[in-house]
Symmetry: C2
Subunit: 192 residues, 2 copies
C-alpha cells in the first residue's frame, strides 16, 4: 500500500462504497456514473479511487464482509450459552446485512481476499453451531453445513419479509432474530 489517504479522499471512498451499495441494489448493471452521482462525486473521482469497475466491486465485497466479521466478533460468539450467543450474533449480523443487502447477497467478485473473508465467516458460524449442538440446542445428528446454509437463508428471508406496513413490529431486529432462530431450531411444525 502507498501512503495513507488524505481525510477527504477517505471520505470519498466511503461515499462511493455506500452509494454503490444503494445504486446496485436497485440495478445490478448500473454505470459508474450513476454510482458517482449517488455519491455526490464525479465519475472521474470514482475512477481515481478504483481503477475499474471490477476493482470497485471487489472493494465493496471486502468491505461488507469485513463489517460482517466485525459484527460477529462484537457479539462475542464464544461467551455465554450458545442460545444467547446465537441471538446476539443474529441481531448484529442482521443489522449489517440490512445495510449491505446487495453486496452481501450477490456473490459476484470471487477474489482471493473475499473468499478468505467468507471462510472466516463460515468458520465463526460453524463453530457457534457446533457449540450449540454440544449444548443440546441442535439435534446430535444435524448436518452443520446444511444448518449453516439454512441459517444464512433464513437471515436473508427475514430481511426480505414484506408486511412491514401492517405489522411494524416485524421490522424490529429483535423480533426478526427471534423468528430466525425459532424457525431454525423448530421449523414450522407443531411443537412437541
Amino acid at each position: 500500500m502507498g501512503r495513507a489517504l488524505r481525510a477527504d479522499a477517505e471520505r470519498s471512498v466511503r461515499a462511493i462504497l455506500e452509494a454503490a451499495e444503494r445504486v446496485l441494489a436497485q440495478d445490478a448493471g448500473a454505470s459508474m456514473e450513476q454510482i458517482a452521482e449517488a455519491a455526490g462525486l464525479t465519475r472521474i473521482t470514482v475512477h481515481r479511487r478504483f481503477a475499474n469497475r471490477q476493482a470497485l466491486l471487489e472493494a465493496l465485497a471486502v468491505s461488507a464482509k469485513q463489517q460482517l466479521i466485525d459484527a460477529i466478533e462484537e457479539a462475542r460468539p464464544d461467551s455465554a450459552p450458545a442460545l444467547v450467543a446465537l441471538y446476539r450474533v443474529t441481531v448484529n449480523v442482521m443489522r449489517v446485512k440490512n445495510t449491505w443487502r446487495y453486496t452481501l447477497s450477490h456473490a459476484t467478485a470471487h477474489t482471493a481476499a473475499a473468499a478468505a473473508l467468507w471462510e472466516e465467516i463460515d468458520a465463526h458460524t460453524v463453530q457457534l453451531l457446533d457449540r450449540a449442538q454440544h449444548e443440546g440446542l441442535l439435534a446430535p445428528d444435524a448436518d452443520l453445513e446444511w444448518t449453516r446454509q439454512v441459517y444464512y437463508a433464513l437471515l436473508s428471508e427475514a430481511l426480505n419479509r414484506p408486511g412491514a406496513d401492517r405489522d411494524p413490529a416485524a421490522q424490529d431486529p429483535d423480533a426478526q432474530a427471534t423468528l430466525v432462530i425459532d424457525t431454525l431450531l423448530h421449523g414450522a411444525g407443531p411443537r412437541g
Copy 2:
C-alpha cells in the same frame, strides 16, 4: 398473436430459451451473441424471435414460471394427505427449479404476465400449506406467508448444496425433497 410458428422456428425459440438459461446462469450480463452461439444460431435469428433483450428475458421468465405451474399441478397437490402431496410437489418443483436455476432465482423482468404467474404459484403453495396446517402438520399459529418464504428458500438451498462429490446420494431428488420437508417441519433442533 399472429399465425402459429413453423416447426423449425418453434425449435429455434426453445433452443434460444434453453441457451439463455445456460449462458445467463454463468454470466447475467452475457450478450445476445453469446446466447445465440450457445443456441447454435445467429444473433440475427435471436433478434427475429425476440425484438430486444428485455423481451427475451420476459419470455424466459414466463416460460420457466409456466413450467413450474405445470409441475405443481402435475403433482396433484389437492389429493392425498398433505404430507404426501407436499412431498410430490417438492420433488416436481425441484426438478424444474434445477433446470431453470438462473431464471427462477433472479426475478429480473417484472412484467404483468410474470407477476400473474408468480401469484398463481404462491396461491397453489399457500393453499397446500393451509391444508397441511389443518391436518396438524404445521403449528396452528404458524404464519403461512413466512412458511412459504422459508419453503422457497429451502428449495433453493437444497439445490445449491455442495458435497455432491463425497455423497452422491445428496443429489438424489427424493433425498433432497425429504431434507427440505424435514427441515421445514422440524428445523435443526432435537426432536421432541
